[in-house]
């Protein structure tokens, strides 16, 4: 068994999502055995990220520069804002490469159970952004959960006076989804949101 530094590293790594003490120990050993190729670059990368990554003051995305790369990109459509609950959602939509507008990260969803109220989310900032006049459409890409949709309705209500189109993502059959295995809620939503072919 290693010294206290190694134990401390194992304990810290074990707190990461998807890892436990066993996998943390394997990772530590793996890193220590590949000092030049893996450990040193990782230490440097962690240090830089820790020192430089900040939330974007415009949209809330995480980046080393402020405003973030998405907000700075002139080729992106500044008239459309996609509102997401968290940075993970923003990254997921970016991976899909199907959206060329800007984003707004709320920082969560309204939740009675967790005591998250409108003031805890970046809703005021969104209203202010829309109020600047360049925006024509706001897409609400919150989760299809009770909390997510409650948040979407609340944001839509707040933007009612702003004179912009407010839309939300469709709910329905996922690509590759088999109807037989879909839950009743999704099937019902898919039927209600059916389209003419």
């Amino acid at each position: 068994m290693g010294g206290s530094e190694i134990e401390r590293l194992v304990a810290l790594l074990a707190r990461l999502p998807g890892l436990g003490p066993r996998s943390a120990r394997r990772i530590v050993l793996h890193l220590l055995e590949r000092r030049e190729t893996l450990l040193d670059p990782l230490v440097a990368a962690l240090g830089t990220a820790g020192a430089r990554v900040r939330p974007c003051s415009v949209c809330g995305n995480l980046d080393t520069e402020d405003p973030c790369a998405v907000c700075r990109d002139e080729r992106r459509d500044a008239s459309v804002i996609c509102v997401v609950e968290g940075v993970a959602d923003l990254w997921a939509i970016e991976r899909a490469a199907a959206f060329r507008g800007r984003y707004h990260v709320l920082g969560g969803a309204l939740s009675a159970l967790d005591g998250i109220a409108p003031d805890d989310l970046a809703i005021e900032q969104l209203v202010a952004r829309v109020g600047q006049g360049r925006v024509t459409e706001v897409i609400l890409a919150t989760n299809a959960t009770v909390e997510g949709q409650t948040t979407a309705h609340y944001v839509a209500e707040r933007l009612a006076e702003a004179g912009v189109t407010v839309s939300r993502l469709a709910h329905g059959v996922p690509v590759g989804g088999e109807i037989e295995y879909l839950d009743e809620g999704t099937l019902g939503a898919a039927l209600r949101a059916r389209r003419e072919l």
Binding site: V146, T150, H153, R158, D183, G185, G188, A189, R192
Partner: protein, 252 residues
């Protein structure tokens, strides 16, 4: 220890990476929590939405342990309401109020039936707001703070009831209430089986039950009215209380 009962999901809180601590409101067991393994996973998250009707099997070695739930969906009530802002707000508010007010592991059959009635009304067409006020009345009654709307506390008459005393929870006729009307809570006609369920009446109803819930059921355990329930009132306000976040000062 093991039991199986049907109930409604009141909330699911993340526990660890993949599990959730789920609160279920059943008729025979009341509000009961349990650990659901994989509750944050893809398969179970849709099932654990607030308001869904589920069959829950609770297991634990000892009765006073948290225990674990095996949960199966009976009806995806929440999914039908996602597009309807007011109904979704009502669902979230009702679940939040139940979660905040009900002591754990004690049956409240009347409140449960009123909650089930509300969920049914929310899923159907037509007015749901009177059912929401009735659910909160039933909750108050089951918690031991029931309002007495049968006769006037001053005159003993049972017609012309228009107010409720915030102190005693008893109804008062409009005439008897006249000298101290501004200190009483308005009693909407639909709670007496007559009168419209318009915005004003619903607002009166929500203020009435809200005031008693706040003072008796919530303050006693050091809690405040859940934000979701506060926001619900905005849907019945003449001025847009949601967008401004500022409501007119309450005349009572």
């Amino acid at each position: 220890m093991q039991w199986t009962d049907e109930g409604f999901v009141l909330g699911a809180r993340r526990h660890g990476e993949t599990s959730a601590i789920v609160s279920v409101f059943s008729r025979a067991r009341g509000r009961h929590a349990g650990l659901v393994r994989g509750g944050m996973g893809r398969r179970l998250r849709p099932v654990l939405q607030v308001g869904n009707r589920v069959t829950a099997t609770w297991r634990a070695r000892l009765n006073d342990q948290l225990g674990s739930f095996a949960i199966e969906l009976v009806a995806a009530e929440a999914a039908h309401l996602l597009d309807r802002a007011d109904r979704l707000a009502a669902l979230a508010a009702a679940a939040a109020v139940a979660d905040a007010c009900l002591p754990e592991r004690h049956p409240y059959a009347r409140a449960h039936d009123a909650f089930a009635g509300l969920i049914e009304r929310l899923g159907a067409e037509g007015a749901w707001a009177p059912a929401f006020v009735r659910w909160e009345l039933a909750l108050l009654a089951d918690l031991g703070f029931g309002l007495d709307l049968s006769a006037c506390a001053v005159t003993g008459r049972n017609d012309g009831l228009a107010y409720v005393s915030p102190r005693t929870g008893r109804a008062v006729t409009a005439e008897a209430a006249a000298p101290y009307r501004d200190r009483l809570l308005a009693l909407p006609g639909f709670l007496l089986g007559a009168g419209p369920g318009d915005d004003q009446a619903v607002r009166d109803g929500l203020r009435l039950t809200g005031s008693f819930l706040e003072r008796h059921a919530l303050a006693a355990v050091g809690r405040r009215m859940p934000e979701a329930r506060v926001r619900l009132l905005g849907y019945f306000s003449p001025r847009d209380a949601i967008s401004g976040g500022i409501t007119a000062p309450d005349p009572t």
